[in-house]
Every structure is written in C-alpha cells, then in structure tokens.
C-alpha cells in the first residue's frame, strides 16, 4: 500500500529554518470498528520501533482498562526511561496497557502487539500522531508516495477490528 506524507505544523520558535512552516511525516490513518461506530486514527510509521504504541485514550474507547496494565520502561533518543505497561501482571501503573489484536491490512492479516500509553503526549513520543506503528508495518506493507512510487496512490485506511 502506498500513502502520501502528511504535513504537520512546526514551532517557528524552535526551528533553525526561518522559512520552514511544516514538517512531512510518515503518518497514515488506521480504522477502528467498534460497537458505537467507526473512527480512524492517525499513526506515525516508525520502521525502527520495537512495538506499536497507542495513546491510552484510544484504548479506553476500545473498552480496554488501560490503567490495569503492567508497567514497562521504554527508552527513546533522550536516553531517559519512559514508563509503559502491559496487562499480563496487574500493577498500579497509570500509564500503559498491552494486548494482542488481529490487525487486518489487506492483503496481509497479522497478529500484532500494541502498547497503550496514557502519558504519550507528556513524553512527546510523537507529535500530531499519537502512535508509533512499529517495525512490522514499516517493513512489510507500507510505502509512501515518491519513496516507493506505484500507480495506486489512494489514501486507503488499514482496519483494526476489535
């Protein structure tokens, strides 16, 4: 599948280039189908990420008790530990939840693991798209226009059914 890069605003007070007004990011929408309805969610593709990380608010919407998750620690480029968690052991984590879902991205369907981070915006894992979509997506099935050009450049969402 091919997608278009998405343009996001930049903070001009924290940018070395005076004429830069936006940043291009590898962001795609994925679609959740839940009982209440359907919604898409913007995710940032990071082919080097070990896991897929969702904002805890999305987990809440999917009926997942994020705050019952086991606390884990993730590390980013800052080197500072950033806490996350999964559901396998109940701790008083207020941050993250871990679960497996069937993810269908036609024509590939795979079982994939997600982490939910309630404080993702605080730790600033990503701006604009509150998700790191991990190595599987980056490696297997997602390309971006002009990077891997094809004739079909439609903006097709992936679908996650719960």
């Amino acid at each position: 599948m091919n997608f278009r890069y998405q343009k996001f605003p930049v903070d001009k007070n924290n940018c070395p280039f005076s004429n830069k007004s936006s940043s291009l990011r590898t962001v795609i929408p994925i679609t959740f189908e839940i009982n209440k309805g359907t919604f898409s969610y913007l995710v940032l593709i990071d082919s080097g990420a070990d896991y897929c990380l969702f904002h805890g608010g999305v987990g809440d919407n999917l009926g997942i008790k994020v705050k019952e998750g086991k606390q884990l620690v993730f590390y980013g480029t800052s080197g500072e530990p950033q806490k996350c968690g999964n559901k396998e052991n109940k701790l008083n984590s207020e941050i993250v939840f871990f679960l497996r879902y069937n993810l269908s991205i036609a024509p590939i369907a795979q079982r994939i693991e997600y982490f939910f981070a309630e404080e993702m915006m605080t730790v600033r894992f990503c701006l604009g798209a509150q998700v790191i979509f991990g190595e599987w997506a980056g490696r297997e099935c997602v390309g971006f226009e002009n990077q891997f050009p094809t004739r079909d450049n439609r903006f097709n969402p992936c679908t996650l059914r719960t």
Binding site: V10, D11, F39, S40, G57, M121, R124, A129
Partner: protein
C-alpha cells in the same frame, strides 16, 4: 521533485493540547474536546460516520525517534 502530501499543517496549527475529530474527506475539524470519547461522540452526532481522531500536541517542536 514535488512530493504529493496530505496537508494538516493549516488545520492543526490553531489547536493545542486537545483531541480533534476531523472530517475524513475535507480533513476539517468537526469536534474538539479533552477526551477522545467525547470528541468521537460529538462527531458521530454531527453525522460524520468515520471521523479521523487525533490529538493536537501542546507544542509543535521538532522531534526525532
């Protein structure tokens, strides 16, 4: 080479630290709020069948992964 993009920069630049629901066709903001549940509910009530959910960050500073 000009890269074709989906431009969210103008849509998002006026919003900070809140959840947004966008119209999937026009990518205009149709609902805002502090909780994704509330934002989605508002968007669905406005007749947007599959709104695009995202959260505007507190600032748009540069980042690396």
């Amino acid at each position: 080479m000009k890269i074709k993009t989906v431009d969210l920069s103008k849509t998002l630049k006026n919003y900070k630290n809140e959840w947004l629901a966008l119209n999937p066709d026009s990518l205009k903001v149709v609902a805002t709020g502090n909780k994704p549940k509330d934002v989605l509910k508002l968007a669905w009530e406005k007749g947007i069948l599959s709104p695009v959910l995202t959260k505007a960050p507190a600032n748009y500073g540069a980042y690396i992964l």
